[in-house]
Subunit: 215 residues, 2 copies
């Protein structure tokens, strides 16, 4: 049995999630300055007072929207923990491109987010990238990655973002080709002698055959 | 002889440039919401009224700051037109890393700029990336680059940004190693069969020997 207090807490949590989903749509369509708490409340169909109850200021609403979206995207990329790391890597890339395709405006908003340098938004986006790098490190079985390895993998995460953004602007390239481009770049990053000298050759061959075929 | 009207125009232009240089420092240190027109004017040592004369609103000041910084960075990367394209490519990469090193906070602010999705700021940053892609296309002598080539090069520009950002957070890697990493990635992008099948092998060898040695 769910008691009244629990149900109320669930309602609040649900409403908060709905507001954050709306936030992702709004910040993808309007600039930060164009949106006021009043207009956000109006679009959500609630009072300004209730919106303030959830988010003390517009900036909080923005920051929490970015946090929720980043969490959702990383969750999708993380995939099914029962699968092997390499299968998850391939599925994760597919899930990433699904998100990019289905939420293009919100995606562009997310990876370009953070005016001036809003330290909190930067930290959220950077932490999401860091979690993706961690997923790859785990998938490759790297025990103690050197700073140069991590730098190369961070670069690759940005490469995937940049190539995806270019693809959203010009979809004349097939999605499979985009996926192969991103996968090949990762293979190169982990196969260059300088960066990943310790990696076993057999693993590389396995990664290559795994990633070149879109999930 | 410079007449009075010309001098006045030069003074205005100079003052505007000084304000934009200040803006780059301020937006690198404070969030957009933390800065008000009043506080910007105070830090610039001028009246609010005079600041409004140059920039009608805070957002204009921000947008123009980003535009000036992007223009400055692309100018540095573009380099000396009297040099050969490949020399310019190498020098451009060095100039880029100089800018990153000397203006780290401002650089992070620039590449992460644009709250929600501020279309104007996104357009400025994107146009700067596009101009860098154009420089590479010219340096490689690609006559009619296919969408996949451009996508790969856009990805590479982001790779350079991502690797540089990771480097700013952990400088235990030597700058030369970072430069080599970024250069190698470009060599791979342009040498993969799928993306640049038409490129002459001799040119590739030339690019490789050119880029692997930091300028």
């Amino acid at each position: 049995m769910v008691n009244k207090a629990t149900r109320k807490r669930m309602d609040i949590e649900l409403r908060r999630e709905e507001l954050l989903a709306l936030g992702l749509k709004l910040f993808a369509r309007y600039t930060y300055d164009e949106l006021s708490i009043a207009s956000i409340a109006e679009k959500a169909g609630i009072s300004k007072g209730l919106l303030y109850h959830y988010f003390p200021a517009k900036r909080d609403f923005y920051v929490e929207t970015v946090r929720a979206a980043a969490g959702q995207l990383v969750g999708l990329i993380t995939g099914d923990p029962r699968e092997t790391p390499l299968v998850r890597l391939r599925q994760g890339l597919g899930a990433y491109l699904n998100f990019v395709e289905e939420n293009s405006a919100a995606y562009l908003s997310l990876v370009n987010g953070g005016i001036g340098i809003d330290p909190e938004v930067s930290r959220i986006v950077e932490s999401a990238r860091g979690r993706v790098v961690k997923l790859i490190v785990d998938a490759l079985g790297l025990r103690d990655p050197a700073p140069l390895h991590l730098m190369a993998l961070h670069g690759w995460v940005h490469f995937a973002e940049g190539a995806s953004q270019a693809w959203l602007r010009d979809k004349s390239v097939a999605r499979d080709e985009l996926q192969r481009l991103i996968a090949r770049q990762l293979i190169f990053v982990v196969s260059t002698q300088a960066a990943f000298a310790g990696l076993r050759r057999a693993l590389l061959v396995k990664i290559t055959s795994m990633l070149e075929v879109p999930a």
